[in-house]
């Protein structure tokens, strides 16, 4: 006995033309990706043989860097603290500036379209200029040391945090916000009692992730005179103090790992 209501089974013919098209599309995409890879190898002048001939030079540097100079450990603690504090300053400064900008740059809560576009433009500009360039600019403006590093990270963080904060606000559920507005709450009350509690955990998570990123960035900023452990690293390399370099790399590794772990644990607690 057959079931009259059962739908007709689809055979290979039903998929024939679509199947061919899918295969051609996949091959096409594969070729395009290969072309992109090939042009990048040409542009960067990739020479794998140089890696082989350079092995002796690298081995020599590693030999001269061993063992790490732990006698200088005490002296490197201050630059290490500087590095962490540059990141904290940059992150906090970035958050303080990014929150109001993000509110203005979120389409669902921005007071007007012109303000929305101005805020989006400011965030885009802060993000487009790399933190290293901001550091060079601030070193010129306020001199060498950790302060220009902190300023550079703060401004660049405004770009990164502002965009992510604005997107978080745009994606939130608007129903509780509308319900609060209907109770007669003012705009500022709706913001503090509705918007803030709804997005705060996400914003904290993003901020912790940014702090983690900023600690990595602050290591590099020292290379352009913006203080911290990066400045020590550059100086040691210029003076061929490879044992000190290896010590600094160990400290860098420890800081990055600790920051990453702490950030992950805190983000998990928040979510």
């Amino acid at each position: 006995m057959t079931d009259a209501a059962a739908p007709a089974r689809l055979g290979p013919r039903d998929f024939g033309r679509g199947g061919t098209f899918v295969v051609v599309k996949r091959v096409g995409i594969g070729l395009v990706l290969l072309l992109i890879l090939a042009q990048s190898l040409i542009v960067v002048e990739a020479r794998p043989q140089d890696l082989v001939t350079g092995v002796h030079g690298m081995a020599d540097i590693i030999r001269r860097a061993m063992p790490p100079d732990f006698q200088k450990f005490g002296g490197e603690l201050w630059p290490a603290l500087e590095t962490i504090d540059i990141a904290i300053f940059g992150t906090v400064g970035g958050v303080v500036l990014a929150i109001p900008l993000a509110v203005l740059a979120a389409a669902n809560v921005s007071p007007s379209r012109p303000i929305y576009f101005v805020a989006r433009g400011a965030i885009g500009f802060a993000r487009a200029v790399p933190d290293l360039v901001w550091a060079l600019f601030f070193v010129t403006a306020v001199g060498l040391g950790p302060f220009p590093g902190g300023l550079a990270l703060a401004v660049h963080s405004v770009g990164m945090l502002g965009r992510l904060f604005a997107e978080t606000i745009e994606q939130m559920d608007m129903a509780p916000i509308d319900a609060l507005a209907l109770t007669g709450a003012s705009r500022i009350q709706v913001f503090s009692h509705g918007v803030v509690p709804s997005v705060l955990p996400s914003l904290l998570g993003i901020t912790l992730y940014r702090l983690d990123e900023n600690i990595r960035s602050s290591l590099v900023l020292g290379f352009v005179g913006a203080g911290g452990i990066g400045f020590q690293l550059l100086t040691a390399m210029n003076l061929f103090q490879y044992r000190e370099v290896s010590l600094l790399l160990i400290i860098t590794f420890a800081i990055v790992q600790a920051a990453e772990r702490l950030s992950a644990v805190l983000r998990e607690k928040i979510s």
Binding site: P176, A179, L180, G184, Q189
Partner: protein, 247 residues
């Protein structure tokens, strides 16, 4: 007391969503509006709450015509009118108690509430409203952990914190199971009587209207079809209301 006079709304595309609608709900009364999809039930509530601006007509709440007002004066006048909808729309990460207390924000000013704080006296009052809806034991739980029925009760408690004279309910039981739906309707019935609230409720469930309404209003194509005491609403009257919609 809630009263509308010749309330009409015509959309920009020319469609008449509400046609000279007259309805009055006295304090202590629960009036249920029945009608098919797109008949204008929600539009009626939104025009009364002034989240939609009616084309013509009047909406009187406690002796004030809301249609004549705008800006701050409208916000203040609207405090007498609370609204709950199909979804409870609570701030999920805040406590149940804080969610209820936010219903009082319209009456509160100052820096403390602007910064996200809630006065102790309002939190105490919110606890009392939670007791009224039978959820005081969940006061410190996160709103996001509640079931649909519990969340709707909390939304009603939030509406009570507003100290309204009129409660508008837009399909408050649409997403609830039958038992939770009965609970919510019993609660609305009790609040209307005990708090002397004028309750105007839009429903799809005819049986609930028969069980809990003081009066039943039928709406079709934005116009009133009938406005009768519950006892006078026959099955045939309701059947014709929905039959005409289908036709």
């Amino acid at each position: 007391m809630l009263k509308t006079c010749d309330l009409s709304l015509r959309y920009q595309n020319g469609k008449l969503a509400l046609a000279r609608f007259n309805i009055a709900v006295r304090p202590g009364e629960l009036v249920i509006v029945l009608g098919g999809n797109g008949s204008g039930k929600t539009t009626l509530l939104r025009c009364i709450a002034r989240t939609l601006a009616p084309s013509t007509g009047e909406v009187w709440v406690n002796g004030t015509n809301l249609v004549e007002l705008s800006g701050e004066r409208l916000r203040r006048a609207r405090l007498a009118l609370a609204m709950i909808s199909q979804h409870a729309s609570l701030v999920r990460r805040r406590s149940v108690l804080a969610n209820v207390a936010t219903g009082a924000l319209g009456r509160l000013g100052g820096v403390w509430t602007a910064l996200g704080g809630l006065p102790a006296c309002e939190l105490a009052a919110a606890y009392g409203h939670l007791e009224e809806v039978g959820l005081a034991e969940l006061a410190h739980q996160r709103a996001g952990t509640l079931s649909g029925g519990q969340a709707q009760r909390v939304a009603i408690a939030r509406a009570l914190a507003q100290r309204p004279r009129v409660l508008l309910a837009d399909e408050p039981v649409a997403s609830l199971d039958p038992e939770a739906a009965e609970d919510i309707m019993r609660l609305l019935r009790r609040l209307a009587a005990e708090e002397n609230l004028a309750v105007l409720c839009v429903l799809h469930q005819v049986e609930l209207a028969y069980a809990y309404a003081d009066r039943v209003v039928g709406i079709r194509d934005g116009g009133m079809v009938f406005d009768l005491p519950r006892a006078e609403v026959s099955r045939e009257t309701v059947r014709r209301l929905y039959l005409s919609e289908a036709a």
